[in-house]
Symmetry: C2
Subunit: 269 residues, 2 copies
Amino acid sequence: MSDVTDRPVWRSVDGEPLSADSDALVVEEPLEIRCGGEAVSVTMRTPGHDRELALGFLVSEGVLADPASVRDIVQSAGGPAANVIDVRPAPGVTLDLARLTRHVFTSSSCGLCGKTAIEAVHHHLPPLDDDVMVNAFTLLSLPAVLRFHQTAFARTGGLHAAAVFDPNGSLVVLREDVGRHNAVDKVLGYGFAAGLLPWCGHILLVSGRASFEIVQKALAARIPTVAAVSAPSSLAVSFADESNQTLVGFLRGERLNVYTHPRRIYFAD
Amino acid sequence: MSDVTDRPVWRSVDGEPLSADSDALVVEEPLEIRCGGEAVSVTMRTPGHDRELALGFLVSEGVLADPASVRDIVQSAGGPAANVIDVRPAPGVTLDLARLTRHVFTSSSCGLCGKTAIEAVHHHLPPLDDDVMVNAFTLLSLPAVLRFHQTAFARTGGLHAAAVFDPNGSLVVLREDVGRHNAVDKVLGYGFAAGLLPWCGHILLVSGRASFEIVQKALAARIPTVAAVSAPSSLAVSFADESNQTLVGFLRGERLNVYTHPRRIYFAD
């Protein structure tokens, strides 16, 4: 399946009457993720890299940690069945589906708040414990790389992007999706399948805002530095703070804001 | 609870070393929505207008249609318990929780695709059947109104907005949230609680992109015209097309793109 599709459009500019044209739109389709045959999530995603999306989702939920625990991934090649993907565990492996975040949340009977949400994640994804540093000038160079590789966004204006860079600022992987969390899951799934995790000293950059969910997914991949082109939320900051992650926001032009653990940032040409 | 919170920040501009400051961040906290005591959803939202959020969520999922079916809404005033809200049905009313979209999707055993997702929604939310028109110049005037009222966005850069306008372009309600779908749910919940639904001839405007979910929520409120400041997805267009909704994208400056049912748009000063 393609990530971009052409559709009719009627345009008006400067109050002129509508004129028929066509427009490139980002494709959005549901994907049902199954684990050993059991449906665990339905997400609206941009088709492509579905195997990475399914793996990354399960990694970020703490269900998968070892590539050897996966026997295979089953997805039909076309038709509606291509929107169902099943990650099947290796023989003898039992995956703990109860770890899925949604379950963690909805089984909480004593109320929940940001603090308990953070504790629930740290129960299976402990905070980082490293003294990795990152050069501010490396960070400042990353948004231009992101934009350069955002091919589908350039055509549609409708896609989020997530990318992982190594400590020197070299691009490791970039993925686009109509959903920001899906773009991050695809990036994680790539790293998981390629045996690259944990991503010590690496940097996750997202094209938009940084929410709790984004920083949590970075922690699952053990990424110490999370950067966003736009604003972080309060819970993203609280989570990064307690997870020993450096959270950078408004990374654009010649500026950046550091919201947590600025000790990691240094300035050297 | 507040929708904006101040946090420490370390800023760097033009490669200068970090300097400590403070920054206003949008608040993100989980909300567990219950229906008659049963947990039906956990969403990361910006606190405030939680009753509207819960009602709007249930309206958009097809669970609630009549304000008289709600006995009361229970939420603690403070502490973590304030992040749990329970919509309790009136005596004798049984709400059909199986209608929840997530259930519709995950119980589908024969695969799923955009087409089946649309059919699943139309099963409980039929397409519109009206001949309402909308003035293009009215549409072009709306983004400025949205920006003027986006007070929290102006302070944080981290919020989505959704607003409903009447057929003359007068603002009925505007809500902001860290999640776009939450902003739309809050708007719907306001209309539901105030007895304003169905919103015949009205316009829904969202600050960002238009996804399947946004257009579906508009249909639940019977809104015929959905406008987005940014791009629509392919499935948003397919859904609007089959639901007899006019979907407008890239509504900004002096331009607009009409993706479905342009018959509703006319030009008159």
